[in-house]
C-alpha cells in the first residue's frame, strides 16, 4: 500500500489558519495593540476580561485563534524561506523550526487556557 502523504493535512491547517487569521486577527490587533494602549477606547478591566476569558466557549475560541494561525504561519513561512532565500537544503531544520514551533505554541496555548 502506498503511504499517504502528510502534505494535504498541513495544507488544510494552513488554509484553516489563513481563514481564522483573515477574519479575526485585524480586530484583535486593532483593539489590544492600538485602540486600548493609545486610549482611543476604554479597555475592559482585568476582572471583566478574566471572567470573559474563563468561559469555556471563549477558551476554545482563544485556543483556535492561537493554534490555527500558527500552523498557517509555519506552512507559509516554510515556503517563503525556500523561495525567498533558496535554502531548500536546510529542509529538515526548517520543518522542525516551523511546524515544531507551531506545535509548541499550540501546547503553550492549551496549557495557558487550561490553567486560566
Amino acid at each position: 500500500m502506498r503511504r499517504r502523504s502528510i502534505v494535504p493535512f498541513f495544507w488544510i491547517l494552513f488554509s484553516a489558519g489563513g481563514v481564522v487569521a483573515a477574519f479575526l486577527i485585524p480586530i484583535h490587533l486593532l483593539l489590544f495593540g492600538l485602540a486600548f494602549p493609545l486610549g482611543w477606547l476604554d479597555p475592559p478591566s482585568h476582572q471583566k476580561l478574566l471572567a470573559l476569558a474563563r468561559l469555556p466557549l471563549v477558551r476554545l475560541y482563544l485556543f483556535v485563534l492561537c493554534s490555527l494561525p500558527l500552523f498557517h504561519w509555519a506552512h507559509r513561512f516554510r515556503y517563503t524561506l525556500y523561495d525567498g532565500l533558496q535554502v531548500r537544503h536546510l529542509n529538515e531544520l526548517i520543518v522542525l523550526g516551523t511546524y515544531g514551533g507551531a506545535t509548541v505554541g499550540t501546547l503553550v496555548a492549551a496549557y495557558l487556557l487550561w490553567s486560566l
Binding site: A22, I25, F32, G33, P37
Partner: protein
Amino acid sequence: MIERPSYTEFHPRWHRTRVSTYWWLERWRYVKFILRELTSIFVALFVVMTLLQIRALAHGPQTYQAFQERLANPLVLVLNTVGLLFVLFHTITWFNLTPKAMAIRVGGKRIPDVLLTAPNYVAWVVVSGVVAWIVMEG
C-alpha cells in the same frame, strides 16, 4: 545489507542557471508576493502577543497592568501598527483569492468574482463588530 540510495524530490539536473536570492525584487508582482508571504510573520507575532497577554491575565491585576503598559511602549506601538497593516494585507489578499479557489459556474458561466469576494468582506465587518462588542461589553 543493501544501502538505499537517497532520492531527492526532484529530478537532478546537471545544469542549473543560478537564480539570484533577490529575484523577487525584479518586479512589483514578485515583491507583492513576498510581502504577502511575509504577513505570516506578523500573524505569528500576534499569537505570541496574545499568549503573553493570556499569561499576564492569569497572573493577576498587577502583572496585567504591567503588560498593558508594555503595549503602550512606542516601539511596541510601531510594531503593532506595522503588524496591523501586514495582517490587513493578508485579509485582503486572502479574500480576493476566493474566486480562484472556488470557481462556481451558473448556467455554464463563471459567476463574477465580486459575488464571491463581497460576502467575505461583509462577514468580516460583522464578525469584527461582534468581537469588539463582546470584548468591550462582555
